[in-house]
Amino acid sequence: MSASVLFDAPGPRARARHRVLTVVGLLLILGFVGFALWKLGEKGNLAAEKWTPFLTAEIWTNYFIPGLINTLKAAAISVVLAAVFGVLFGMGRLSDNTVIRWASSVVVEFFRSVPVLVMMIAAFWFYAFNQTFDFDLVPLAAVVTGLTLYNGAVVAELIRSGVGSLPKGQSEAGLSIGLTRRQTLRIIQLPQAITAMLPALVSQLVVVLKDTALGYIITYDELLNQYKSIGSFKSNIVPAMIVIAFLFIAINYALTRVAGYVERRLRERGRVTITRGAAGPGAVAEVDTAIIDQQLHEADERALRER
């Protein structure tokens, strides 16, 4: 057993206690599962005819697959746009021009602290009233707008912490061979930063994919929305919900595993990585950005003196 902070290697008495606790734990889990199944069965949710529709091709081709495609479509467009937004404002926050830096900081912090749903709703009505898009496209456009602004801000912050996690020697080496600050950032720091933040970026994909489900609220016809049509069509709303939840969990779990794999690979190659850790939605990797802030501050002071 690996060493733990909390527990010493168990002796005979502790092992006996663990065996008792194992039995208690198993009984608790069995009791809980049994209760859930009993409750579901009581309302007829476990009847075979409620589940057989999922074995037919039509329910997949008419509902699940179109819903899944819409979910993935919104996520894919948002990811690309968020990457562009993020690189732009991430570099803006690292600019040595004070005005650009402040403006980028305000934009990034603003979109990070406004809920995605609020941005989606506002975008939805904005597009609907101004007829910016075809009527059918308004929900998709609103979902993409909300996801792009929020995740773009997160990516911008990741780029900043990615650059901050690099050894100071990297930028010093770049500057000492005669590159300008901007060249150093673009040629030396940014490529390394993007590698360092790769695992965090993949975990961010999970957040994007989960948040497409918010599109349900603004009538975007994504995966979650299918439960209504399936439920009214086959009157099996609870089984439909369970299958949809399973699809979401399977995709996101796979993505989480990919993020872990990428991180391990990078670490094996001796690269610095930043992860989002356990911080959850809305949180950004905790990397000390004090170094960059100080460098920028020094650059400011130099500029002031030269003036």
Binding site: V5, L21, S113, K210, I217, V238, F248, N252, G277, A279
Partner: protein, 221 residues
């Protein structure tokens, strides 16, 4: 503009957002601590059950959990807390938010405890402290400091995620925003800014406080 505030009670809606945040924060802290204890316990069954909870909940969209709390738990299975429809939905929204964020609270606590080097506990045992003493005096004080930042980030995320409760008709600010825009579409940008700035006001102090606390309480190693 004035009529907007006269017609719609913006403050009551933000009050509901705060109420959801505070109650769900307490709920998720309770559930999250229990799950964290399970994941940190030496008994494999509890570890597995805790990991299963975290992996499942973390990979499920919050919208789905909130809608399922209404469609599956309240309507289909008939778990009701109140005869009053909106009150019942409010309670289910708090439970759904707590269940969802508990997974993140669990991981925050666990990552906090994991920042404590094994040597600390070994030193505690070697000077003869008992299990509860080493937990109380050595491990938890350090672990708590390591957990401040992720816990604070979870609180900020929770504040913003309360907006999803509108999916089951809880009268919080994003639902009211939708109504206000339908009523005065010419003021769309202004209405959005009011709501957005409201959230900046709610989340910014928490962010500043976390940064301050984590800098002040950081364990030098």
């Amino acid at each position: 503009m004035g009529e907007l505030f006269a017609e719609f009670n913006v403050f009551a809606a933000f009050g509901m957002t705060i109420l959801l945040t505070v109650t769900a924060a307490i709920g998720s802290l309770l559930i999250g601590t229990v799950v964290a204890i399970m994941r940190l316990s030496p008994v494999a069954v509890f570890q597995r059950a805790g990991a299963f909870y975290v992996n499942t909940v973390r990979n499920t969209p919050l919208t789905l959990i909130i809608i399922a709390s209404n469609i599956v738990m309240a309507v289909n299975l008939g778990f009701n807390f109140s005869k009053d429809f909106s009150r019942n939905n409010l309670i289910w929204a708090v439970i759904a938010l707590s269940v969802y964020h508990a997974a993140f609270v669990c991981e925050a606590i666990r990552s906090g405890v994991n920042t404590v080097p094994v040597g600390q506990a070994e030193a505690a045992r070697s000077i003869g402290l008992t299990f509860s003493q080493s937990l109380r005096e050595i491990v938890l004080p350090q672990g708590f400091r390591g957990a401040i930042t992720p816990l604070g980030n979870t609180l900020i995320a929770l504040t913003k995620n309360t907006t999803v409760a509108t999916a089951i008709g809880v009268a919080e600010i994003s639902g009211l925003m939708s109504e206000m825009i339908e009523f005065r579409s010419d003021l769309l940008l202004f209405i959005f800014l009011i709501v957005a700035i409201g959230f900046v006001i709610l989340t910014l102090p928490v962010g500043i406080l976390i940064t301050y606390l984590s800098k002040r309480l950081v364990v030098k190693r």
